[in-house]
Symmetry: C2
């Protein structure tokens, strides 16, 4: 644990950060390497977690298992099943059964709609998918700045923060940032879980989105764009690449979309007007081998 570091760490500002030493999140396993020699290595856990909204079963997610309350609420918010002004009266987690129940004072709109729909088709996922597109239309993301000096400071701090990724690989990270400070760093097997956990945390702690920058290790797909827009965050940054629809939706929504951010390089394919090129590039190092994400997983 890093509770009492000897020297001041590079990550003093986190509200939430990875706990790579938590024995529930990863485990040591033995095998052989390419020479046939015995080796021991750490691998992350993934467990099914079934989410209920009141009495309605919604989905079974595969997750590393930390922050189940935030994951549950964030999933419902990012799917539009729960609205930002809905109130949540309780979240019950049964770790043994792998169940999380989110309770609202009354049946939600989503539940009523679903009840009608299941009589014809039967899949909660389909319902949610159709509604996702509504988010993009008519959205107005706030004016904001994304200074290149912040971006380089952020990626350096994030890459050097102790994490399950550095410990065991095969995992994604998402980080909510303000200016040059990473605030909430969540990890999970799927990048969608990591972003949902941050959405859930923001909801529970009333964190404002309009002055934030969202960083992800994962690709900039339509779903990541839709979730970021739904969360009201104006800037999305990734070390990974783009899909065409992700770019198109970002442009429709006016989201600043920055990808392939490695070392001093990046490409912005939407909302470049928010970028302030204030960093002298002579002082930025190219990505060192030490901090290159090996894609030993996680670079999806």
């Amino acid at each position: 644990m890093n509770d009492a570091p000897d020297t001041e760490p590079a990550w003093p500002d986190y509200l939430v950060r990875p706990q790579p030493d938590d024995p529930k999140l990863s485990t040591a396993v033995t095998g052989v390497d390419h020479t046939g020699a015995a080796v021991s290595t750490r691998v992350v856990h993934e467990k099914p977690l079934t989410l209920y909204l009141n009495a309605q079963e919604i989905v079974t997610m595969m997750t590393i298992g930390d922050h189940p309350e935030e994951l549950a609420i964030g999933y419902l918010l990012n799917q539009g099943m729960l609205k930002a002004n809905d109130s949540v009266t309780g979240v019950d987690v049964d770790e043994e059964l792998g169940v999380v129940v989110v309770r609202t004072p009354e049946q939600t709109n989503f539940e009523s709609k679903l009840k009608k729909r299941t009589q014809t088709s039967g899949c909660a996922q389909g319902t949610a998918f159709g509604d996702l597109m509504e988010v993009i239309e008519g959205v107005k993301l706030p004016k904001a700045e994304a200074r290149t000096s912040w971006l380089y400071a952020l990626t350096h701090k994030i890459n050097t923060t102790p994490s399950l990724y550095l410990e065991a690989g095969a995992i994604h990270g998402c980080v909510l940032c303000k200016q040059d400070r990473p605030l909430i760093y969540m990890e999970d097997v799927g990048r969608h879980n990591a972003i949902d956990k941050i959405a859930g945390y923001m909801f529970r702690h009333e964190i404002r989105p309009d002055d934030k920058i969202f960083y992800t290790t994962g690709r900039l797909t339509s779903e990541m764009v839709i979730k970021t827009v739904r969360m009201g965050i104006p800037v999305l940054v990734s070390r990974s690449g783009f899909t065409a629809w992700g770019v198109e939706l970002a442009r429709q929504a006016g989201l600043t979309l920055i990808g392939r951010a490695r070392g001093k390089r990046f490409i912005a394919l939407s909302g470049a007007e928010r970028i302030v090129f204030d960093q002298d590039l002579g002082f930025v190092e190219d990505e060192s081998a030490r901090h290159r994400r090996k894609g030993a997983g996680g670079d999806d």
Copy 2:
């Protein structure tokens, strides 16, 4: 297109390989780079494709859109909604509507079960998930060899094959191989689509699984292990990392699970008895920068 190469290519054996020049699969977009200069880059398409099994809506998938018939059949097989000995009387694709319909002579077992279940819960996904575990229990994967000389030859051939990954990034690849020969190389935004396309192709072309090696760029999660086992393939190889449950299921099923395969290195965490260490490591190069997957996506 590579139909008439001047010199003999390193990939003469493919039954199916990526078509990076297909204009339907990627598109050029413009943006700015880290210096503020205008740039043009290629990005892959992703489109929703809604799958029906006869009259039953099953799921909406995000896909690059090639091989929709194979994707549809493979999805149903790998979810256990279609059995290996079911017959398929037709697959209709409507590209404009983004719909694919798989037809069987009679209503499948899955449809009858689903009809009962939707009256109580309403989600096809949940049903399928519960059944996935049954696959692992009592499975008997065939004896087979995975020679290290084959593994090094395979990764070299796959990494140098023209692909959407090399063209645009942000995509996964899965390859069905026999000994040192890659046979079927499918790509898609999600690794699960790529493996499903291969399952669908194997079903339609009666390709035997017991002497094959399955290669994926994606992580070795429980779902990838379950799908490989369901397909009857005894060896699963990835350049990415492992999850704990993926390892546990592979051990239960007796699947050979090889991960973090980069340059001359790899780690096997299950089924190492199938590995024959026949390669003189002095003749294997470490992964060159040229063929390192940048994780510019795709390295999930």
